[in-house]
């Protein structure tokens, strides 16, 4: 009687252990999968951020030359860096008009001419030219209209 009772009792701890192990495995597996997924996402986000930062600090461009006609300011931008840039060009005539041209694509080692139209440009007008890249870098040029 005692023997049969003890044998019956032995099943429930075994089942309990199995259930506990199954719970640990399933919860642990889920946590493992979630951890791997989230860590991968975190690492990819970090690498993406680093790459963007690297592109930002790698930008190298200059306003190489500025010229004018009676109604236009001509700006040449030279990208001597290794990453493509998108720039907005702002031109301000001292005591006169301001105008801009947006979204100018300049590839690596490329050189583009940007034309900004004004109603009139006089001789000796002082012109301030600013090129701002979409990553936040700037180049400046001051010019005396001729």
């Amino acid at each position: 009687m005692n023997k049969s009772t003890s044998m019956r009792r032995a099943y429930s701890p075994v089942i309990a252990a199995l259930i506990l192990s199954a719970v640990v495995l399933s919860v642990g597996g889920a946590v493992w999968a979630y951890s791997q997924g989230s860590m991968t996402i975190i690492a990819e986000d970090y690498i993406e951020g680093i790459n963007e930062l690297k592109d930002t600090i790698s930008e190298r461009f200059t306003i190489e030359h500025v010229a004018n006609t009676s109604t236009q300011i001509l700006v040449w931008i030279y990208n001597y860096g290794e990453v493509a840039i998108v720039v907005d060009v702002y031109v301000d005539i001292d005591g006169g008009e301001s105008n801009s041209v947006m979204n100018v694509d300049v590839g690596p080692d490329d050189f583009v001419e940007v034309v900004i139209v004004f109603s009139a440009i006089q001789d000796n007008d002082e012109v301030a030219v600013k090129a701002v890249s979409r990553r936040g870098n700037n180049a400046y040029y001051r010019y005396l209209a001729q």
Binding site: L25, E64, A67
Partner: protein, 237 residues
């Protein structure tokens, strides 16, 4: 009987604990540590890029290119010559004549002599010339003496100049004296690395003497020889 039960319970409790520990260690080694390694590698690559960009910026600052323009009346043209006084080779990518860019691909070796890089034929209708070259490191170097074509006299320049730059002499404050055909005497004080320009009206040989205090420490004769030679003579001391 009681002892046997206790040992059985302990053993079964231990299974889930061991599994939990294994899962924790597994997460640590397959997710967390690889993530830190990847982040560390990205940081290292970023630092390398920063270092390389710093070197490129330094090279850009160290470029020492000089542009000289010689003029030829027949056929009417400009001869563009350059000299690289720096320690790095310089690649010229563009020549500007006034507002007209002209693509070039010319490499000037370091510490070079004056080299001719281009002959530019001048159209009849243009009268005044501003010359500039651009390097692949983004520097623009201008020949800062405007050239003018005079129909009676041929090529002329609006100014003749002797430019002095002190970089290697010991000391910080110097006096520069220039004597020659015209004007008879000019002097000025200057600091190290501060270029000084002496405008003169006639070609000829000028003596440039540099003093520290009252002691003469440098002497050089330069010739401005228009139109055969340079309109601007540089003295590097």
């Amino acid at each position: 009987m009681l002892t046997t039960d206790t040992s059985l319970n302990r053993g079964r409790r231990g299974t889930s604990t061991v599994l939990g520990t294994l899962i924790f260690v597994g997460i640590l080694f397959t997710a967390v540590i690889p993530m830190f390694l990847v982040i560390r590698q990205a940081d290292t690559l970023f630092e390398n890029s920063k270092h390389e960009l710093g070197i490129l910026d330094q090279e850009r600052r160290d470029e020492a290119l000089y542009v000289y323009i010689y003029t030829v009346a027949d056929p009417r043209s400009l001869i563009v010559k350059v000299q690289n006084k720096g320690e790095l080779s310089v690649r010229i990518v563009r020549l500007w004549v006034n507002d007209e860019p002209l693509d070039l691909d010319y490499i000037v070796p370091p510490m070079s002599d004056i080299e001719e890089i281009h002959t530019y034929p001048i159209p009849e209708e243009t009268d005044s010339y501003y010359i500039k070259v651009t390097t692949d490191r983004g520097n623009s170097v201008a020949f800062d003496t405007p050239l003018v074509w005079d129909y009676g006299m041929g090529w002329t320049s609006e100014i003749l100049s002797i430019n002095v730059l002190i970089t290697s002499l010991p000391g910080n404050i110097f006096k520069i004296e220039v004597t020659g055909p015209d004007p008879a005497y000019q002097e000025t004080l200057t600091l190290k690395y501060e270029p000084k320009f002496f405008l003169v009206d006639v070609e000829g040989t000028y003596a440039v003497t540099i003093f520290r205090g009252t002691k003469e420490i440098y002497y050089e004769e330069v010739t401005i020889n228009d139109p055969e030679g340079p309109l601007v003579a540089w003295v590097f001391a």
